[in-house]
Symmetry: C2
Subunit: 280 residues, 2 copies
DNA sequence: GGGAGCATTCGGGAAAGCCTTATGCTGGTT
DNA sequence: AACCAGCATAAGGCTTTCCCGAATGCTCCC
């Protein structure tokens, strides 16, 4: 066989292709950029095909490169499945979650997964949404838990890589609240980019006067002190409604979806694992 | 990732596991035995598992080794499929056939394959049955064309490796013939091991007096000269019946199946290719 | 025009892959 | 009982691959 294509080289290729840069890929892999560059070069030589166009600003996939990317992760997953079958190693699923959700929502999801698939080791990390999406696209995470809206990933209004599948594993209710005798304006919002802020932007448009605060928690605190209204997720409300510290302003906001997303081309058995989380 | 498992090592492992010996595997791979031995050792170190028990007479698979063998060829096939998709290389299907069939029956089979799957390159070699079965089991051939009987591979009475699938792509009629005015005994048979001989053994048992000749062609020649009866396949009869050189002795022998066999665990797309040959 | 950010080249050291030859094992032969 | 055939593997040596840090060259942007 003239053709040489080794799994190690494919790992390097996938890292470069998904991160778009040799430097970033090298960081992910814990290698020097020169090493990754050479891996890619050897892979291209082995296949007899140019996988990237080199630009001064990074690497752009060629048409054969795109074809390889669509298949390489699946092959690596297959190899890993073989490895696990032979060594008896437990499968490790790496799940990331929005920092906002890690404390309040993630434990229940992980517990359900542990109950249904006790054969898995689950590892968890929390990050920002963009970092999560990048990590999922780059294969550094198997799936990510975030907040979203509608039938497609990104319905809440954020950009996401193509090729993602999702399943909704729960809901997060939103309430527009204010202190009982406090102001109903302005709308106290978290920084742009925050999921709740995206929801507020979709619900109220740009007309409503607003004040941007550093976090959801801060918005809640300000609203308790009567400085305005806040759109808060159920997990951030605590007992403020029961205690009367905050009252609901009667908005029938749509619930946000607690959504697990992953790359469609990953091995089918990953899909099974993740769907195990969906049916309640 | 601590674990190292490279495709090259898997190739070596498969070769050793299927041939049962490092030496034979090295021949197949075109490497020195020491190199293959080292490949296997490194693979075992990488997986952290013993794949073989070393005996003085060869290598015997351990339980994890068996698990790997069942999956490794599928992974290599997957890798090859990815390679083809990326390089645009045409798929090459290696088919072997019994020497007896190569001239008479193989061309029609190959022509049909070329018509139905013009995207394939087909390579052909002819060998003895045992050599064919070994090559198929060892992955050196994708499939083999041979003569058989009944619903299972080996129904004609030969030993075959486990895990083979098959599809019948045609029939070979058998006729018991003799010269019009020649002897009807003894039964002129080809050497043991020949498919026609196996069929004769099944049909007539051990009682019938027989004379063993060096080939089917010789048996036909002897029977034309009146020295006995012969069980001949349609493709070996030529025009002897039409010309009256031989007459049929009125035996309703079952037709042999022209049977394509391959290893079940090979990639599904191979199965599709081969099944393309079955429907007439 | 200078600098930031990028990929690549270069030189060298460590590891892997491969070879041939040598060694040790076991089971069958004479 | 000694020997030999066949096997896997160790030893030694060469070549290639892999990886590193440092240097180089490129382009875009300020």
């Amino acid at each position: 066989m003239l053709v040489r294509m080794e799994l190690r080289q494919l790992k390097g290729f996938v890292a470069v292709a998904t991160s778009g840069s040799v430097t970033a890929a090298a960081n992910d892999l814990g290698l020097a950029p020169a090493s990754v560059s050479e891996q890619v070069r050897r892979l291209e030589a082995g296949l007899g095909v140019a996988l990237f166009e080199r630009t001064a600003r990074g690497m752009r996939l060629t048409e054969p490169g795109t074809a390889l990317l669509a298949r390489a992760q699946g092959l690596l997953d297959h190899a890993d499945e073989v490895r696990r079958a032979v060594t008896g190693a437990r499968r490790r699923v790496r799940i990331g979650a929005l920092e906002m959700l890690a404390a309040a929502k993630l434990p229940a999801v992980i517990r359900r997964l542990a109950e249904r698939r006790p054969d898995l080791d689950v590892s968890v990390e929390s990050r920002t949404r963009q970092s999560l999406l990048d990590a999922v696209a780059g294969g550094r995470l198997d799936a990510a838990l975030l907040l979203d809206l509608g039938d497609r990933v990104g319905g809440l209004g954020f950009a996401r890589p193509a090729g993602m599948d999702h399943v909704d594993v729960g809901e997060v209710r939103l309430s527009l609240v204010a202190a009982p005798d406090g102001d109903r304006e302005p709308l106290l919002v978290s920084p742009s980019g925050c999921s709740i802020r995206l929801a507020a932007d979709q619900l109220f448009g740009a007309e409503v006067p607003r004040r941007e605060l550093s976090s959801i928690t801060t918005a809640r605190e300000w609203s308790r002190q009567g400085l305005g209204a806040a759109l808060l997720p159920d997990f951030a409300l605590g007992s403020d409604l029961d205690s009367g510290a905050l009252v609901e302003l009667g908005l029938d906001a749509p619930a946000l979806a607690l959504r697990l997303v992953w790359m469609r081309e990953r091995e089918p058995s990953l899909r099974d694992v993740l769907y195990a989380l969906s049916a309640s």
